[in-house]
Subunit: 430 residues, 2 copies
């Protein structure tokens, strides 16, 4: 009987603790919403300084996390995501300064107009409130997500992976030390102090109405759980099944450059291409060079009949390949009966993330850009540009494939809401 | 045993029927998203014609609904909301033509910029998809909501109140006849054909992923149920606890005009003022004239100590009055210790809908506009301007107090999402 009782007590304790965390975040959000830009920028500069000054503490915590991970048999990729060194800490501090230097979205006038009765109406950006960030192994998310939340006037509640809990705590100590030196509330950035999994469930339920939005950062199973269970809005994408369609009027050299970059520049990012579609009218001239290029670059190709005829190294694609996000040096490839078939394929198998057409035909390009229902559609450019930095947003907290509020790269502006300010001179409504 | 079995069968049948409805809406949404403006406008014009041409059918159905409502003892206000006559049908048809004449938001470029590598990026409006509208007695919502959905390129699934089901059906027959004459799919506007309450639950669950957003139109209990149960985004406000704060530097004449209009122009709308806050520094000169004016206009006043001393007709306000939306000729009133106290009162008791300050002091006005966290904040203008038409949106499907996607009046633009179109010349990512 002892074990269940202890669990119940512990859950009650963490529920109370999480409830307080939410209330503190809500109070901090009220202060942050009205904080002048200079005040937020000073805090961000101090955060960068403290991360640099506390480098040794952060590395010590990280080496403990790494030792535990290795002892429990974690793979090399996992250990690499978790590991910090001087260079990575310097990068983290620089990222804080990049966010400091971005324009403050809060208070920006998005639109303004005057009504016939003389009232002027402005639509101005205001923060969202409290952002809950649930992430896995990369500890730099602690600083990155906190900085984006703070600059956009939002309070952050961070729940990192338990495998990096010591590192996250050390980074959070540095951030909090900077806040203590500033005039902003320390509760602007809170780290969930319990490793209990129940804490995640409480966050997904909105933490008694105190969390306004959840941003998951991590693998597909984390995102799937968040999308399934969250009772508050979520900014996320479950997967990036991105396509490159090589049209009949594509230049071969450009198609080769874009396909190679879209697939192979980095295979583990959500904007990496997973499927190559080649117009049947371009197949004779373009298919073999594209497929051979990919194979020679070390990419496994899984193709339909036509693609398999090109090279013996091509494997047969199964139906499920068309809806698989490999995140690896693997691509599915097929020949399609022209533009319309390409669009239909993307509609059926894609994930509404990022898709590209390569063509010299402007009308066909415009039709693709119009009809493909994805957050990002590109003409003659690589899908790997699906990134807030590449869009000029300065930094991003993630990429969203939902249709509400934020879609595509989620930068500072997407972390805001708006309100209407109306200025009159005594107007009453007839 | 028979009754439960029948219920189970019937629920299964309506689940299948609702599932099909959702799939048809999703298919229609795909066509609507790409429909040219002229095609949508022709359909809207035809809808107005059919409503006029089928006036007799609609009135006949309405008189049956009215007879049933009267027989079941419905009150006068309820019957008035339900009742149609020639003038109301003409108004409904005109409203369809108003929406036809509004600018089409779909395809509008919201922002565009060029990256250093020469890629141009555009953020363009696209429809949301499928909108579920759940409404109560007013049958004109059938036409209004359908028109706004269609013009913004969205498919609509309408679930009207069961007390107006014959009228809604007759209006829907008219709309569908117009769609049949057009080149748009008839499933662009579907009316849920079952009166079973389970259908609402299915819609709130997202109808197997086919509904993208729910808009409730009706009383507080409907909105509360929708906000509580919906697993998809909701555009709504639960209540409008709107304040007018009369500052120390308010002109009395202006304050009187705004307070009277804000409270009494129409007491049943969400933008009607429910609480009057008077700055203690203005109380001696302004309080008595304001309170007397309201009482003389037939408004019940529930006040704090200071307000009660003004006039014997003032009743004592209880704590719950400050958070009550009367939607009637009743107002709560209190004296506050200046601007900061007014803002604190609104933060504590308000519903983040619409709040106004009356003052001649620009700095104090700006502070109110900045610090009051409501969808609409006004300076020297009546809260009754909280309306899409008054904002110049042409028409609205409702007012939202959430912070996501839509806030304030929800017009055509708020019924859209966006996507990014990127045009390159062979760019790959370094």
């Amino acid at each position: 009987m002892t074990a269940p009782l202890r669990t119940a007590e512990s859950t009650t304790a963490s529920a109370a603790l999480m409830h307080d965390l939410g209330l503190r975040a809500r109070q901090a959000a009220r202060v942050l919403a009205l904080a002048p830009t200079a005040q937020k920028n000073e805090a961000l500069a101090a955060m960068a300084q403290e991360c640099r000054a506390r480098r040794a503490d952060i590395l010590a915590a990280n080496s403990q996390d790494l030792a535990e991970a290795r002892a429990s048999g974690a793979g090399a990729a996992f250990v690499d995501r978790l590991a910090l060194d001087d260079k990575r800490i310097a990068g983290m501090a620089e990222a804080l300064e990049v966010v400091r230097d971005l324009d403050d979205p809060v208070g920006a006038v998005m639109q303004s107009w005057t009504r016939p009765n003389g009232m002027s109406i402005e639509r101005v950006r205001v923060p969202l409130g409290v952002i809950g960030i649930i992430y896995e192994s990369r500890p730099n998310v602690t600083a990155d997500a906190a900085a984006l939340s703070l600059k956009s006037g939002n309070a952050a509640i961070l729940r990192g992976g338990s495998e990096s809990h010591r590192t996250n705590r050390a980074i959070h100590v540095a951030l909090t030390a900077a806040l203590a030196r500033s005039t902003l509330p320390e509760a602007a950035i809170q780290l969930v102090p319990t490793r209990e999994r129940a804490a995640v469930g409480m966050m997904l339920a909105g933490l008694d109405g105190t969390i306004d939005v959840i941003v998951p950062r991590g693998g597909k199973s984390l995102v799937a759980r968040v999308q399934e269970e969250a009772r508050v809005p979520v900014f996320a994408h479950l997967e990036g099944i991105c396509h490159v369609y090589v049209d009949r009027s594509a230049k071969l050299a450009m198609a080769k450059a874009i396909v190679l970059n879209a697939k192979m520049r980095r295979t583990g990012v959500c904007g990496a291409a997973e499927t190559l579609l080649v117009d049947v009218a371009a197949a004779q001239s373009h298919l073999a060079p594209l497929v051979t290029m990919l194979l020679d670059a070390g990419c496994e190709v899984r193709g339909d009949e036509a693609v398999r005829r090109v090279d013996a190294r091509v494997k047969a694609a199964a139906e499920q390949d068309w809806s698989t996000e490999y995140l690896d040096a693997v691509i599915s490839a097929r020949v399609v009966e022209g533009l319309e078939a390409a669009i239909a394929h993307i509609e059926r198998y894609g994930s509404h993330h990022t898709d590209a057409i390569v063509t010299e035909d402007a009308a066909r390009a415009e039709r693709f850009l119009r009809e493909v229902d994805s957050a990002i559609v590109l003409h003659n450019a690589s899908t790997q540009f699906a990134d807030g930095g590449e869009f000029g947003f300065g930094a991003e907290i993630g990429i969203a494939t939902g249709r509400f509020h934020a879609r595509g790269p989620v930068g500072l502006e997407q972390l805001t809401s708006f309100k209407y300010r109306v200025r009159g001179s005594g107007q009453t409504r007839p």
